[in-house]
C-alpha cells in the first residue's frame, strides 16, 4: 500500500539501494533461521539410523533411508488411532465451539440487546482473572469427571473469549438496516442469526473457526493433565508424539505391541518421522489458509 507508485517518480537514491540490500539480507537470514529447524527434522527423518549414531543429525542426510517411515506404517494402529482422536476432537470442538461462539457473538453485537455491555464483561472478565490451575483441575476431575474422558480434550478450549470478541466486532459491522428489515418481515432472532448474520460474516467465521481448529489440533496439555497412561487409546496426536519424544521406551513398547523387536526400530529417525507426520497436515494446508489467519491477526490487533 505504501506502494510502488510514488517510488517510480524519482530516480532510486543511494539510501534506498543501501536500505534494500540490508532489508533483503535481514529478511533472508531471519526466514532462513525460521525454516532451518523444519529442514533439520525432515533431513533427520530420512537418515540412516547408524549414520546418525556415528555423525549425529545434519542438514543434509549422510545416507538417505526411508526405513523410519516404512516402520511407522508397519505399526500404524497407535498412530492412526491418535490421528483419529485428534481429527474427532478437532472437528467436534470446532463445529460446536464456532456455533456457540457465533450465537453469543450475534447477541452481543445486537444493539437492541439491553444487557450487552454487562454480558460482554461477564465473558471478558474470565480473561483477566482466573482461579488458577489447581481449583480448575480439582473441579474438573472430582465434579465433572474429566479423568480419562474425551470431554476433557474438548470442553476446556471450547469457548475462547478473544474469538468471541473478534466475531462480535465482525458482526457489528453488518449494516443494521438488514436486521431491521428482517425483523419487519417477522423474523425472530434465531432466524436472523441463521439467514443474515451467519452468511454475512463468512470470512470472520472462517478465520475464527481456523483458530479454534488449530488450538484443538495442537493441544496436548489437557491430555497430559487428564489422561492416564492406561488410556493410550485416547491420546491425541500431539500428546502421542510428546510421549514418543520424552519417554525412551515408548516407541519400542509400541513396536513390541505390533510384534516388532526393539532392535529393529530405527529409533532416532523415527522420532523425527513421527514429528513430520504430526505436523504435515498443518504445513500442507498452511499456504491455502494463511490469508484467513492474517485477517484474524489484523482484526485482533485493531481491537487490541
Amino acid at each position: 500500500m505504501v506502494g510502488a507508485k510514488y517510488q517510480c517518480k524519482k530516480p532510486i537514491g543511494r539510501d534506498r539501494v543501501i536500505f534494500n540490500i540490508i532489508s533483503y539480507i535481514i529478511l533472508a537470514v531471519l526466514s532462513g533461521a525460521c525454516l532451518l529447524p523444519f529442514l533439520l527434522v525432515l533431513s533427520g527423518s530420512i537418515s540412516e539410523q547408524y549414520a546418525i549414531s556415528l555423525h549425529g543429525y545434519s542438514l543434509v542426510p549422510k545416507e538417505i533411508s526411508f526405513e523410519a517411515y516404512k516402520m511407522l506404517f508397519k505399526i500404524p494402529e497407535e498412530l492412526l488411532r491418535a490421528y483419529g482422536v485428534t481429527i474427532f476432537v478437532t472437528v467436534t470442538g470446532t463445529v460446536i465451539g464456532l456455533w456457540l461462539t457465533s450465537m453469543a457473538a450475534y447477541v452481543l453485537a445486537n444493539r437492541d440487546f439491553r444487557y450487552r455491555y454487562q454480558v460482554s464483561f461477564f465473558f471478558y472478565f474470565t480473561s483477566v482473572f482466573g482461579g488458577g490451575l489447581v481449583p480448575w483441575y480439582i473441579f474438573n476431575t472430582k465434579y465433572l469427571h474429566f479423568h480419562n474422558s474425551i470431554i476433557a480434550l474438548i470442553l476446556p478450549i471450547l469457548i475462547n473469549v478473544t474469538y468471541l470478541l473478534i466475531l462480535k466486532s465482525y458482526m457489528m459491522s453488518i449494516p443494521e438496516s438488514l436486521y431491521e428489515s428482517a425483523k419487519l418481515d417477522g423474523a425472530g432472532d434465531f432466524r436472523i442469526y441463521i439467514s443474515i448474520a451467519l452468511p454475512l460474516s463468512k470470512a470472520g467465521l472462517a478465520t475464527v473457526g481456523l483458530f479454534i481448529a488449530l488450538n484443538y489440533w495442537n493441544d496436548w496439555y489437557n491430555a497430559m493433565l487428564y489422561l492416564d497412561e492406561g488410556r493410550r487409546d485416547l491420546y491425541p496426536l500431539q500428546y502421542f508424539l510428546n510421549n514418543i519424544l520424552t519417554k525412551a521406551q515408548a516407541m519400542n513398547a509400541a513396536a513390541a505391541r505390533s510384534g516388532i523387536p526393539a532392535s529393529d526400530v530405527p529409533s532416532e529417525p523415527m522420532k523425527l518421522a513421527m514429528t513430520v507426520v504430526a505436523t504435515g497436515p498443518i504445513i500442507l494446508l498452511y499456504p491455502f489458509l494463511q490469508k484467513y489467519f492474517v485477517k484474524g491477526v489484523t482484526i485482533g490487533a485493531v481491537k487490541g
Partner: protein, 308 residues
C-alpha cells in the same frame, strides 16, 4: 402488573431467544472459569479428595508460608518476570523491524515468501518445537554438536549448562512469535495515509527520515498499547513453551522454572494441592492487579483502547 417487575426479569422474558442463544457459551464459561474461581478458597485449606473443596479443613495462611519459605516463590517469580521482559523487548524489536522492512521492499514474491516462512512457526505445536530442540541440542546426535564436531570443536552440553537456557528460550520465543507480530505491525503500517509519504518525497526526505518521522510515530500508539497490555500479563509464564523446550530438566530448573511450570509439576508429581493453589492465587491475584494498572495506563495514553 408486569410494569412493576424488575427490568432484568422483564428483559429475560421479552428477549428470551437472545438469552437462550447466549446460554450455552455462558454455561461453558461458568463451568470452566467462574465455578473454579470459587476454588481459590483451597489456598487457605488442607485439601483432601474425600472431603472435597468445601469439606476440607481451613489452615489459614500455612500454604502461603510453605510456598514462600520453599525459596521457590522468589526464583519462579524472578524467572517469570525477567523472561517476559526479555521476550517482550526482543520480539517487539524484531517484529517492528521486519514489518518496516517488508512494507518498504518492492519485491512482491520475496516479501510474500519471507513473510509466510516467518509466520509458519506460529502454527506448529509446542511439542513439535520440543522435537526441534531435541533434534538440535541433543548431546549425542544433535545437529549443533555434529556441526561442532565436524569443525573439530568441543561439543556443547546444553542440558547441564545454565547459561545456555535464557539464550535458547529467547530465540525460541522469537522463532515462534516474530511472524505473528510482524503481520500485526504490518497491518498498522499499511493503514498509514500514503499521502504523508508522497508529501515527504516532494520535500526530498530520505528513506531513514521517512521511517523515523512518519512510520515510527504512526505505529507508536499500537506499540505502546501492546507493550502496556503485555505488562498486564508479565506474571504469566508461557507454560507450554517452558514445559516443552526445557523438558523439565532438573539440572537447569533454577533458570528455567516459571510459576506456571512449578505449579503444574508440583500438582502432577506431588499431588501438592494446598501449596500449589496458594502459588496459583498469588500469581492470579498479582496478575489481576497488574492488568488493572496496565488498563489505567492505557486509559491515560489511548482512552479509546482501554479494556474497561
Amino acid at each position: 402488573m408486569k410494569k412493576t417487575r424488575h427490568p432484568f426479569l422483564h428483559d429475560l422474558k421479552e428477549n428470551r431467544v437472545k438469552w437462550l442463544m447466549i446460554l450455552p457459551a455462558a454455561i461453558v464459561v461458568i463451568l470452566m472459569c467462574y465455578i473454579p474461581m470459587g476454588g481459590i478458597v483451597l489456598a487457605f485449606k488442607e485439601f483432601n479428595y474425600h472431603d472435597g473443596i468445601f469439606g476440607s479443613p481451613w489452615v489459614g495462611l500455612k500454604n502461603f508460608e510453605y510456598f514462600f519459605q520453599s525459596g521457590k516463590a522468589w526464583t519462579t517469580t524472578r524467572n517469570t518476570i525477567l523472561y517476559n521482559i526479555a521476550f517482550l523487548c526482543v520480539n517487539t524489536l524484531l517484529q517492528i523491524t521486519c514489518a518496516i522492512l517488508l512494507s518498504e521492499l518492492a519485491g512482491k514474491y520475496f516479501k510474500r515468501i519471507t513473510q509466510s516462512i516467518m509466520f509458519l512457526p506460529y502454527f506448529i505445536s509446542w511439542v513439535v518445537v520440543g522435537a526441534f530442540i531435541y533434534n538440535m541440542f541433543n548431546y549425542e546426535f544433535g545437529a549443533v554438536n555434529s556441526f561442532l564436531r565436524a569443525l573439530g570443536m568441543e561439543p556443547l552440553d546444553v542440558y547441564s549448562n545454565k547459561a545456555a537456557w535464557p539464550v535458547i528460550l529467547i530465540i525460541v520465543s522469537a522463532f515462534k512469535n516474530v511472524g505473528y507480530g510482524t503481520v500485526m505491525y504490518l497491518a498498522s503500517i499499511v493503514g498509514i495515509d500514503g499521502e504523508m509519504f508522497e508529501a515527504a518525497d516532494l520535500d526530498g526526505a530520505s528513506m531513514w527520515q521517512k521511517i523515523r518521522y512518519i512510520t515510527l510515530p504512526c505505529i507508536r500508539p499500537t506499540v505502546v498499547l501492546l507493550f502496556l497490555m503485555a505488562m498486564g500479563t508479565i506474571m504469566k509464564g508461557d507454560f507450554q513453551m517452558f514445559w516443552q523446550v526445557t523438558g523439565n530438566n532438573p539440572m537447569v530448573l533454577d533458570v528455567t522454572d516459571v510459576i506456571d511450570t512449578y505449579v503444574t509439576r508440583s500438582l502432577l508429581n506431588l499431588q501438592e494441592f494446598g501449596m500449589t493453589s496458594a502459588a496459583g492465587l498469588y500469581q492470579s491475584g498479582l496478575s489481576f492487579i497488574l492488568v488493572l494498572i496496565a488498563n489505567h495506563a492505557v486509559k491515560k495514553v489511548e482512552p479509546d483502547y482501554a479494556l474497561f
